[in-house]
Amino acid sequence: MSLERPVPRLAGAWGALGLSGLGLAGLSLLLARQEAPAQLGPAQPGLWLVGITALLLLGAVGIRQSAQGEGHPARTVPAAATLILLVLAAEAALRAYAVPTGLIPTPSKVLEALWAARTVLWRDALTTFVYEALLGFVIGTLLGLGLALLSVRLRFLERGLLPYAALLSSVPIVALAPVVIKAVGLGVASKTIIVAVTVLFPVLINAVRGLHSAQSMHLDLMHSYAASAAQTFRDVRWPSALPFVFTALRVAAPLSLINAIVAEFFGTEGRGLGFRIQIEVGKFGLDVVWAAIVVASVLGISFYLVISLIERRILPGRR
C-alpha cells in the first residue's frame, strides 16, 4: 500500500530532524538579536525564505524516514515533529520579515501572552467551556435522548418530529445566535441554549436511528422469551443504539465549544473566550487572540478524547 521502503533508518531520521529543528531555532535566535524596524515588506526578499524552506525540506526528509515501521516512535514522532518544525519555521519567517504583532504574532509572543494572561484566560475558559459548552452539551444530549425515546414509543411523534429535526440541524448557528441572544439576554444562559440546540438535533436523529437498528432477529428472540418491553429495551434496543449516539456525541463535542465561542461574538457580559478574542482583535492584541485560540483548541481536543474514552469504556467490544 504505502510507497516507503519498510527498512527503518531511525538514526538518519533523528539526524535530519535535529538538524532542521536546530537550524530553525538558531535562525530565530539570530533574528531576535537584530531589532528590525517594523515593516511589512521583506527585508531581503527571498533569501530568508530559501533558508527556511531548505531547513523544512530537510525536516520533511527526517519525518518521512521516522515514519517507517510500526513501532511506537514511528507512530508518534512524525506528527510531533511536524508541529514543532512548523512552529519553529513560522517563528523564523515572521521574525525574518518583521511582521508586526498586530497582524500575525510569533509563536513565542503567543506563549508569552498565554502566560501573562493566564488567570483571565483560565476564567474565560471556565465560562465558555464549563457553563456554556459542557452544560449545553449535557442538556442537549439529555433532551435529544429523551425525545428519541418518546419518538420511538410514539410513532406518530417520530413521523411528525423527526423530519423537522433533520431540517433544523442544517440551520447555520450564526443566523440563530443573534435572535436567541436578543431574546434570552447577554448572559451565559443564551449561549448554553444555543449549544444545547445545536447538540440536540444530531443526537435525536442518531439515537432514533440507533434504537431502530436492533436486529429483528434479536427482537424476535426477546419476544419469544416473553421478555417485557423494559427488558427488551435494556438488553437489546439500548445497547444497539449506543454506538450511534456516541458517533453523534463525538462530532458534537468539539463543535459545542466552537459554537459557544461563535455565539459569544454576538454579545456577552464580559467573559468568555469568544469575548476575549473579539475584544483583543480590536486592540490588535493578536498574541492574546492566538493564546485564546490555543486554549480553545486544547479544550476541544481534550473534550473529544474524553468522549472517545468514555465510549471505549462503555462499548468495550467495539474498536
Binding site: A38, Q39, L40, G41, P100, T101, G102, L103, A116, A117, T119, V120, L121, R123, P178, I181, K182, G185, L186, F265, F266, G267, T268, E269, G270, R271, F275, R276, Q278, I279, E280, V281, G282, K283, F284, G285, L286, V288
Partner: protein, 353 residues
C-alpha cells in the same frame, strides 16, 4: 506642477465633465469606519458632487465589516481609511505602520448614557455598575473615562477583579439598555437618538459626554499606510502617494464643508446609499429623520476646534498632545508614538496652509 494639476482639475470639474471621463482616474479605496450614514456625509458629498473626480481620483467608499479599518489599510485591502485616534495610536504601538493625515472631527461625540431614575450623577458613581461598551476598538473612550476615575473593567486581560462590569454587545443599545446595563455607550449623533426611539425621551436620560470630563479623544480622522505615502508612483498614476493623499484630503474637506453648510441636501445624498443602517430605532425609526439628526450632530463635531480657526482637517498639535498624554495616563499607550504617526505635510499640501 501641483498648481497645474489643480488648475486642470478645477477646469475639468467646472466646465468639461466629458473630458474628465477620458482622462484616466486613479482608483482609490477609502475604508469607512461604519456602514454608510451621515457620519461620513462629507465623503459621500465629495463623491456625488464629483470633487474626487475633479482631483483625478476614482474613489470607492468601503463599508466596514467586523475588523478594524486599520487592518484593512495596513494590509493593503484599502488605501486610505477613517478611524478614531486611539485605534490609530494603539495600532501604531503594535507595530502597524499607519499614518494620520487629516482630522475630520475636532471634538469627541462619545457619551455614556444612564436613566435619570438610576441616580448616577457623576463618574465616581460608576463603581460597581454595569457599563455597556462596544467591541473591536470602540471601547477606548469608555475605558479612558473609567480609568480617569480609577475604575477597572473586565476588558483588561490582566485584571482579575474589576470594579466595573463591562458588558459588550453588538452596538445596538436596545439589547442591553436599560435592564442589563446601568450605563450604555452612545454617540451623540447615533445611539442617543436610538435610545430616545426606545421610548426614553432625552429628559429621562442623563448623558455623560466624555469630552466634558476631559476625555476628548478625537474621532473620525483620515489615515493611510506609510507604504502608500512613500510610494513614488501610486498605482501607476505618475503621482506620488503623498500627492494622491493630498488630493483626497482636499476633495474630502471640500465635501465636508459643503455637507455641513447644506445639511438637507447632504442627507438626501446619503439616504439612497444606506442599506438598513440609516434607520433610527423604535418610534424614531424613520431613516430620513434619524439621518437629519445625525447630520446636525456630526456638524457640531466638525465645526469645532481647528475648524473654527479656518483650519478644517488640521490636527491641532495641542489636542494631539493631550490625547497622547491621556492615553499614556490610562496605560493604553506605553510610550510616545513615533513622530511618523502623524504627517502634517499632507494636510499642508492639500490646503496650502
Amino acid at each position: 506642477m501641483r498648481k497645474f494639476a489643480l488648475l486642470s482639475a478645477l477646469l475639468a470639474a467646472a466646465a468639461l465633465p466629458t473630458v474628465q471621463a477620458q482622462t484616466k482616474l486613479t482608483p482609490i479605496r477609502l475604508q469607512l469606519k461604519w456602514f454608510p450614514q451621515a457620519q461620513f456625509a462629507g465623503f459621500f458629498v465629495a463623491q456625488a458632487k464629483g470633487y474626487f473626480k475633479a482631483e483625478g481620483l476614482d474613489v470607492t467608499l468601503l463599508p466596514i465589516g467586523d475588523q478594524s479599518p486599520i487592518q484593512t489599510v495596513a494590509t493593503g485591502a484599502a488605501d486610505f481609511g477613517t478611524t478614531w485616534i486611539t485605534d490609530l495610536l494603539t495600532a501604531r504601538q503594535q507595530g502597524l505602520p499607519v499614518v494620520h493625515i487629516a482630522q475630520i472631527f475636532q471634538k469627541s461625540g462619545f457619551t455614556l448614557v444612564s436613566l435619570k431614575a438610576s441616580n448616577i450623577a457623576k463618574p465616581a458613581d460608576f463603581k460597581g455598575k454595569r457599563v455597556g461598551v462596544w467591541p473591536s476598538g470602540n471601547e477606548y473612550p469608555a475605558i479612558a473615562l473609567l480609568k480617569k476615575y480609577n475604575l477597572t473593567t473586565s476588558l483588561d486581560s490582566t485584571v482579575a477583579s474589576p470594579s466595573v462590569q463591562a458588558v459588550t454587545y453588538p452596538f445596538d443599545p436596545s439589547i442591553v439598555f436599560p435592564d442589563k446595563v446601568d450605563l450604555v455607550s452612545a454617540m451623540t449623533y447615533n445611539e442617543v437618538d436610538q435610545i430616545a426611539g426606545l421610548g426614553y425621551s432625552l429628559d429621562k436620560l442623563r448623558i455623560f459626554r466624555a469630552s466634558d470630563y476631559g476625555i476628548n479623544l478625537l474621532e473620525d480622522l483620515m489615515f493611510t499606510s506609510q507604504k502608500t505615502l512613500d510610494d513614488k508612483d501610486f498605482k501607476g498614476s505618475g503621482l506620488s502617494g503623498k500627492e494622491i493623499a493630498a488630493r483626497l484630503v482636499r476633495a474630502s474637506l471640500k465635501g465636508w464643508n459643503y455637507a455641513v453648510k447644506n445639511q438637507a441636501e447632504a442627507v438626501n445624498i446619503v439616504l439612497p446609499l444606506c442599506g438598513n443602517t440609516c434607520k433610527g430605532s423604535g418610534t424614531r425609526a424613520d431613516a430620513k429623520a434619524h439621518q437629519t439628526w445625525q447630520m446636525a450632530e456630526v456638524a457640531k463635531l466638525y465645526n469645532a476646534g481647528a475648524t473654527l480657526q479656518g483650519k478644517a482637517g488640521y490636527l491641532d498639535p495641542a489636542a494631539y498632545k493631550s490625547n497622547v498624554a491621556l492615553l499614556k495616563g490610562v496605560g493604553l499607550l506605553k510610550a510616545d508614538p513615533a513622530a511618523g504617526a502623524v504627517d502634517y505635510s499632507v494636510w499642508e499640501a492639500a490646503t496650502k496652509k
